[in-house]
């Protein structure tokens, strides 16, 4: 019987039920999307900060000019490492800094470089823009280095020391300077949260090596990520609170709209518990439908937003699933519980008097 009544009641008021459903779906969707974004934002941001390149530098302890390349193996265990070997060579009578590196390794640490042309293969060279201007060099030209003629694969612009350097594969640089299997320094990028741990472990594992943390990079990343996360967190909480309030308001209003009906049912013998159960069932049906729909829409929206902004797929949706579901269920439960008090409070005598 009660199923019949609840069903008929909903059908009778279908425009209002639809509106309530829409409002709940929207509220739930927004909360879910925000939660999903918040859960993902740190990893996405940290991924973006990779672009700053190295956050640790290994050099020889005690002021020695170079450290052995074998230190790379240890550095590799913590993150992305690349060796750099400096020397000064004479080009057309002038001293120029030569920087030898492993271009495959330095690729992830140098995403901010602007390379006009290509990064060099074996036997080629990459020249900084100031070098190119000084010696009137363009990609495709040849450069005489230590008796060998090297084709120039490209020109690099960074706004930093590379602009005044000639970059070539580290084996070639080592041969030209007679340095052997050495590097002036090893640039290393570890995940920002593990910087201190990496520094300690490397210092322990490599006693002849000095490990420096590039604090400017680490601290500015930490500060920015913290603040952005903090903002997202508070805004998410804010929206959650507001949507919960609005759902409660909405469903409470729905009960209020039907107070005459509730008054009648009470007058003919309906107990508080039973009536509450009916209205709760109706609210629960709408709430559950709205919450699930909202959850789906919100998750989709979050994925779309993440792709649009970061050009990376949204990570670990499964991680947010319990939290998002918990929120939507909470909203649904609240939607059901909120009206119950009002139902209790309805006095048939007052209502039926025609107020």
């Amino acid at each position: 019987m009660w199923l019949r009544i609840v069903g008929k009641a909903m059908r009778d008021r279908w425009p209002r039920v639809t509106l309530a459903l829409a409002a709940l779906t929207v509220a739930s969707g927004l909360s879910t999307a925000l939660l999903a974004l918040y859960a993902d934002i740190e990893s996405k941001l940290r991924g973006q900060f990779r672009g700053y390149g190295a956050n640790l530098v290994l050099s020889a302890a005690g002021g020695a000019p170079t450290l052995p390349l074998s230190a790379l193996a240890e550095a590799d265990r913590h993150g992305e490492a690349a060796p750099i070997l400096y020397s000064v060579q004479t080009i057309r009578g002038e001293p120029v800094v030569l920087a030898g590196t492993d271009f495959r390794r330095i690729e992830p640490l140098s995403q901010y470089w602007e390379v006009r042309g290509q990064r060099p293969a074996a036997g080629e060279a990459l020249v900084g823009v100031a070098v190119a201007e000084r010696f009137q060099l363009r990609p495709g030209d040849s450069l005489d280095l230590g008796g060998e003629s090297r084709p120039i694969s490209g020109v690099v612009v960074t706004g930093g020391p590379e602009d005044s350097q000639i970059l070539l594969p580290i084996q070639d640089a080592a041969r030209l300077s007679g340095a052997g299997e050495q590097a002036s320094l090893i640039a290393l990028r570890v995940p920002a949260v593990a910087v201190e741990q990496a520094r300690q472990r490397l210092a322990q594992a490599l006693p002849g090596v000095e490990v420096r943390v590039l604090r400017a990079v680490v601290e500015s990343e930490a500060g920015a990520v913290l603040k952005i996360r903090g903002t997202m967190f508070l805004l998410t909480l804010l929206v959650l609170a507001i949507t919960i309030l609005s759902v409660a308001n909405n469903f409470g209003a729905m009960v209020h709209q039907r107070r005459v009906e509730i008054g009648i049912l009470k007058a003919i013998g309906g107990g508080d518990g039973r009536l509450a159960g009916w209205f709760a069932a109706e609210a629960a049906a709408v709430a559950l439908a709205g919450s699930l729909a909202g959850f789906l829409l919100g998750t989709l929206a979050a994925r779309a937003l993440t792709w649009q902004i970061f050009r990376q797929p949204a990570g670990t949706a499964w991680g947010t699933l319990p939290a998002a579901l918990a929120v939507t269920v909470a909203v649904a439960v609240l939607a059901v519980v909120a009206p119950l008090n009002r139902i209790r409070a309805i006095q048939p005598a007052v209502i039926l008097r025609g107020e």
């Binding site: 019987m1 008021r13 009648i264 049912l265 009470k266 003919i268 013998g269 508080d272 006095q347 025609g354």
Partner: protein, 233 residues
């Protein structure tokens, strides 16, 4: 043994406003009592008290031996389901349920629904062919008849009627009053609030309220005794 007993009942809405003032009343089983008086005299308040929809500020309302003031919310709901049946001036049917379903709701609150029994109740009030109609599709008189069927379905001890013919035209009024007559003859106790002397005249006893107090009581026999020229219904 009185079925209904009001003992010095007062209902106050504020310091100044007293809807009922020290009202005492006894109603025996099987009586049809009409409560009359101008608007604001406390008639509806009296009915609400008897229906367990309201509590007195002072005094006792005793129905079938039970003091309504002592009952908790759950017990009052049971009381309304089992002991009384309500008929309202505005009918107050659930607009999205059929006539049959409106009667079945009252059954549902009492115990179990019984569609056949509900159908029979509607046939008794002459609506056997209208059971599937929705209230907006029924005339005022028909709605009130459904309301009566609903009120009686659980065999309540008392039928409480608040201006049952107030919204009806003359023809429908007659029909409804005839049904009430039949109900009375079957032995039900009826307490009816009305402002209409003619309607009130159908009852066994008329109680007049004014400013919340009982201003006078007239029994039917007395009326018949003293006004023999009035038509006998």
């Amino acid at each position: 043994m009185a079925l209904i007993e009001l003992v010095e009942v007062t209902k106050r809405y504020s310091d100044a406003l007293r809807a009922l003032d020290q009202v005492s009343l006894r109603i025996d089983p099987g009586e049809w009592v009409a409560i009359l008086g101008p608007s604001g005299s406390g008639k509806t308040t009296l009915l609400n008290l008897l229906g367990g929809l309201d509590q007195p500020s002072e005094g006792q309302v005793q129905v079938d031996g039970a003091d309504l003031g002592r009952l908790n919310r759950r017990q009052l709901a049971r009381y309304r389901a089992e002991t009384v049946g309500f008929v309202f001036q505005q009918f107050h049917l659930i607009p999205y349920l059929t006539a049959l379903e409106n009667v079945m709701v009252a059954q549902y609150f009492h115990s179990l629904t019984d569609e056949a029994e509900a159908r029979r109740a509607l046939e008794k009030v002459g609506l056997g062919d209208r059971v599937r109609h929705l209230p907006p599709q029924l005339s005022g008189g028909e709605q009130q008849r459904v309301s009566i069927a609903r009120a009686l379905i659980n065999q309540p001890k008392i039928l409480l009627a608040d201006e049952p013919t107030g919204n009806l035209d003359a023809a429908n009024e007659q029909t409804v009053l005839e049904i009430l007559d039949a109900v009375h003859r079957e032995g039900h106790t009826i307490l009816m609030v009305t402002h209409d002397e003619t309607v009130g005249g159908r009852a066994d006893r008329r109680v007049y309220l004014e400013h919340g107090r009982v201003a006078g009581v007239v029994s039917r026999e007395a009326r018949l005794k003293f006004f023999p020229l009035e038509p006998i219904s």
